[in-house]
Symmetry: C2
Subunit: 173 residues, 2 copies
Amino acid sequence: MTRDLEKLRLENILGAMSLALVDKMEKAFGTETGLGPSAVAAVIQIGSNPGLSIETLRRFIALTHSATVRLVDHLVEQGLVLRGEGTEGDRRSKALRLTDKGDDVFGRNLAARRGVIERAVGALNPEETLSLGQLVEKLLPALVDMGDDQNVVCRVCDEAACVRERCPISHMA
Amino acid sequence: MTRDLEKLRLENILGAMSLALVDKMEKAFGTETGLGPSAVAAVIQIGSNPGLSIETLRRFIALTHSATVRLVDHLVEQGLVLRGEGTEGDRRSKALRLTDKGDDVFGRNLAARRGVIERAVGALNPEETLSLGQLVEKLLPALVDMGDDQNVVCRVCDEAACVRERCPISHMA
DNA sequence: GGCAATCCTATGCATGATGCATAGTTAGGC
DNA sequence: GCCTAACTATGCATCATGCATAGGATTGCC
């Protein structure tokens, strides 16, 4: 009984912590680069997968096609993204790439995200950090439904920090 | 060196897990009650603190006053919230309360949230769950800045599951 | 006891993000 | 060479939100 109450209490705190972390990341994105969540996700995905099409991007960031077009329009206007010609020999689609300025924003967004997480984890000692990481790694797959939108959780991930062979998401399919 | 890479990898996964959890909670709110994130936060706060004023609510859910007024308008139209008269003898403010229907939505939102977290934590055994909870509890305060908006992280918390004396947030000031 | 400052609520207006429906363009098979 | 499928783009509508402003109640000071 008391045990169940304690479990509920800790689960509630897990929810609060996740919300706090996401809030702080989005706030950091905003103050660092002035972009909203969707724009940040777009920049990070284009930066991580240069040359991808709008349609592919759309699936990563979980938006409608039209919303993605407008978002890319906006990023192009801001000088962050270029619409190249043709993806992989298919001239229907436009290969999206970051400009130098976009690449800078890309890096600053990832740095801001890393900073937020590091500061949080700074409250733990090295063993605790490792232990937390392993638990989270084990828990993550239970949070992701298989399918088209399975990559959406990776929309602001730091690809440089992700080892594909050990990524619980890539590992699912 | 390798140790640092592994730390980065696990921190990245912590970020991904948090995002996935928040995504799933918001999706669950939507499918369960059809409300968006702000509306859910409002219902939960009004349910947890009946009689509060719009101004107080505004601080909990991190919106402008005007946005909060419109949001409450909408909730009243939907028959979820009542604008009473006077908070604590101050007839300027309106005491906000949930209708029976609102109370039902309140409960279903919290249940949906609990369900999402429980399903995730279900991937761990009891000791792991306890261990994760304790780590998260230790880490949470490092994520919250003191001040007016310090309660914002609690905007969708389950008060019934929260023991105030042990809440890292209440404990900060 | 009255007046000014303060605080709460409400509303007009503007904007940004997004979805739906539709139209234009290119590829590739038959 | 044509038809279907897939990708891109745009017109239109809607919703959430912020800023600026206005109105009404409370409090405190004189």
